[in-house]
């Protein structure tokens, strides 16, 4: 197993002996996952960009783990030379969501940070352009947080045309109209049973 992952294992070794507290492991061919404490992220990112030639910030995501009351920030870096994708993950507290910006390393990180400021309510210190990006005059809690119920919000604010209240399965409506017995497979998958 180790013979065709030379590149990946070499990178993992390098990461381990510079950041001892980082847990770096191999997910599959040309994918490595690195978990870090949140205050190690900025030094790690500039180290990865300048020394490990991860020069492309392919993706910057944020996952809301509401159960353990944390946001998980995921930086996905890609190195063109070694053709490796590094998924760098860290956890920050969900209540007072604060993090430092990486705008100086990659310019496009500013757009990601603007979106997460609006969608999750994370305040990125150092990014002076956290203005309105997608939503206009939004007064509710940041919408992408899992405790925001979009169905509830849309019911309150938007007029919905009558006739879709129970979101009934079309097959049931047709069979009820034509008076036949509802076939078994329709019962098994009827939407109402799922809810």
């Amino acid at each position: 197993m180790d013979k065709d992952f030379i590149n990946e294992n070499k990178t993992i070794e390098e990461i381990k002996n510079t950041f001892h507290s980082a847990e770096a492991k191999l997910q599959r061919k040309n994918r490595i996952i690195v978990k870090l404490r949140s205050d190690l992220i900025p030094p790690f990112l500039s180290y990865a960009k300048n020394y490990l030639s991860f020069d492309h910030l392919a993706h910057f995501s944020c996952v809301d783990w509401i159960e353990d009351n944390q946001f998980e920030l995921v930086y996905i870096l890609y190195s063109y030379e070694k053709n490796i994708i590094a998924i760098v993950k860290t956890r920050i507290d969900r209540e007072k969501a604060e993090f430092v910006t990486v705008k100086h390393l990659w310019r496009q990180a500013e757009t990601f940070e603007r979106e997460f400021h609006e969608m999750y309510g994370i305040n990125f210190t150092g990014n002076n352009r956290l203005t309105e990006f997608i939503l206009e005059d939004w007064d509710d809690i940041p919408p992408m947080r899992r405790d925001f119920d979009t169905m509830q919000y849309s019911k309150e604010n938007f007029y919905t045309r009558p006739g879709r209240e129970d979101a009934q399965d079309v097959r049931e409506v047709i069979t009820k109209k034509s008076g036949e017995k509802i076939p078994d497979f329709a019962k098994e998958f009827s939407v109402r049973k799922l809810k």
């Binding site: 990659w106 992408m144 979009t150």
Partner: protein, 367 residues
């Protein structure tokens, strides 16, 4: 004496804008001093909706993210779920997927050709190219039932097998399209005025391109040879031979020539796929699609769409519904941070040209 600066709203309602976004330009005379992209006009909160839908239900919604080219979205989500669950996709389904991806790339390039020359003022090319694109949409209609949104690729393979006699219909369409390309060369690519309008405008400098996150044809237009189909071959791209064309200069003209050469590559890929298509199963059946528990895990997959590298980061927490699906299209970087920097110093009449050449597709920026 500094010229008086006026603010010009290249607003959401503007014939030059591809889609529905706004670029706020500070203009001195005819040159742009400062540009700011305002998006959010097409925000439907895909990721929030997908957290409320089961895995199979999120496939029809996912292809609505990017309008000119929906198939990379479906293929990305399918491959991400397969990677998390470790579901094996039969060989035939992989070949069909590559054919669908390349056909949708061709259709997206023809639409781009219409947009690029339409903003330059050559109104004959959009008529021809969108008309020819319809031949490809007819193929899609026969294969998947839908012209633009196909909802054809899903976790485990494809939804149905190729209909009777579909393969030689595809070959016939490819011959027709290949015979049409010289026409477009004469009318658009070799047109002296189009070259004058395209060369030396909207230049991305080469050594900054990688760091700014430039991907796809704009990157290959700067002379850097990178293509997801070659760097990290997915589906069966490693079994097909094709060339990744690059062009020097980083301006609108270079990006146009890269796309022009990639059309020929796509046609040859489709022909190879039709030749090497094996028989057998086309779908590794998901037991109960609406009651499907994907094991916990995460996956980052990317495909090469017509405008660049399309990345999906999918996290599953073992429940019926995805924990998080984060879509990152090429236009997310091209349309906001890159566009704002290239537009500075450009002429007003080139704003629409630059946006078209970067492939800025607003629904992808704010999903």
């Amino acid at each position: 004496m500094r010229e008086k600066e006026t603010t010009l709203y290249f607003g959401p309602q503007h014939p030059g804008i591809t889609g529905n976004m706004m670029v706020k330009l500070k203009v001195a005379g005819d040159t742009i001093v400062k540009a700011e992209t305002h998006v959010g006009y097409l925000h439907r909160a895909f990721e929030k909706l997908m957290e409320r839908r089961t895995w199979m239900q999120s496939f029809p919604i996912v292809c609505r993210i990017c309008v000119p080219e929906p198939d990379p979205n479906e293929e990305n989500l399918a491959r991400a779920v397969e990677e998390i669950e470790g579901r094996e996709v039969p060989e035939r389904a992989k070949y069909i997927r590559v054919m669908v991806l390349e056909l949708s790339r061709l259709a997206a390039y023809f639409l781009w050709m219409g947009g690029q020359s339409g903003t330059a003022g050559l109104y004959t090319v959009p008529q021809w190219s969108v008309g020819d694109r319809d031949y490809i949409l007819d193929l899609f209609e026969e294969l998947t039932g839908g012209r633009i949104y196909h909802m054809y690729i899903w976790a485990g393979g494809v939804r149905r097998d190729l209909p009777e006699g579909f393969a030689d219909k595809v070959l016939k369409t490819m011959d027709y399209i290949e015979s049409r390309l010289p026409e477009y060369d004469k009318l658009m690519f070799d047109n002296a005025i189009f070259q004058k309008r395209a060369q030396g405008i909207g230049v991305i400098d080469k050594d900054k391109a990688l760091e700014w996150g430039v991907v796809g044809p704009p990157l290959r237009g700067c002379g850097i040879k990178h293509d997801v189909r070659k760097d990290e071959p997915y589906e069966v791209y490693d079994k097909l031979d094709f060339v990744v064309p690059t062009y020097e200069g980083g301006d609108i003209w270079a990006r146009a020539m890269v796309r022009r050469k990639e059309m020929e590559q796509s046609i040859s890929i489709i022909r190879q796929v039709i030749e090497k298509m094996p028989g057998g199963e086309y779908y590794n059946k998901v037991p109960t699609p609406l009651n499907w528990f994907v094991p916990p895990g995460e996956a980052y997959v990317k495909t090469e769409s017509a405008r660049g590298e399309f990345g999906y980061y999918v996290v599953s927490d073992g429940s019926l519904k995805p924990r998080r699906v984060h879509v990152r299209g090429p236009a997310y970087v091209h349309g906001v941070s890159l566009l704002e920097n290239i537009l500075v110093g450009a002429n007003i009449s080139d704003v629409a040209m630059i946006m078209n050449s970067l492939g800025v597709c607003p629904p992808e920026i704010e999903r």
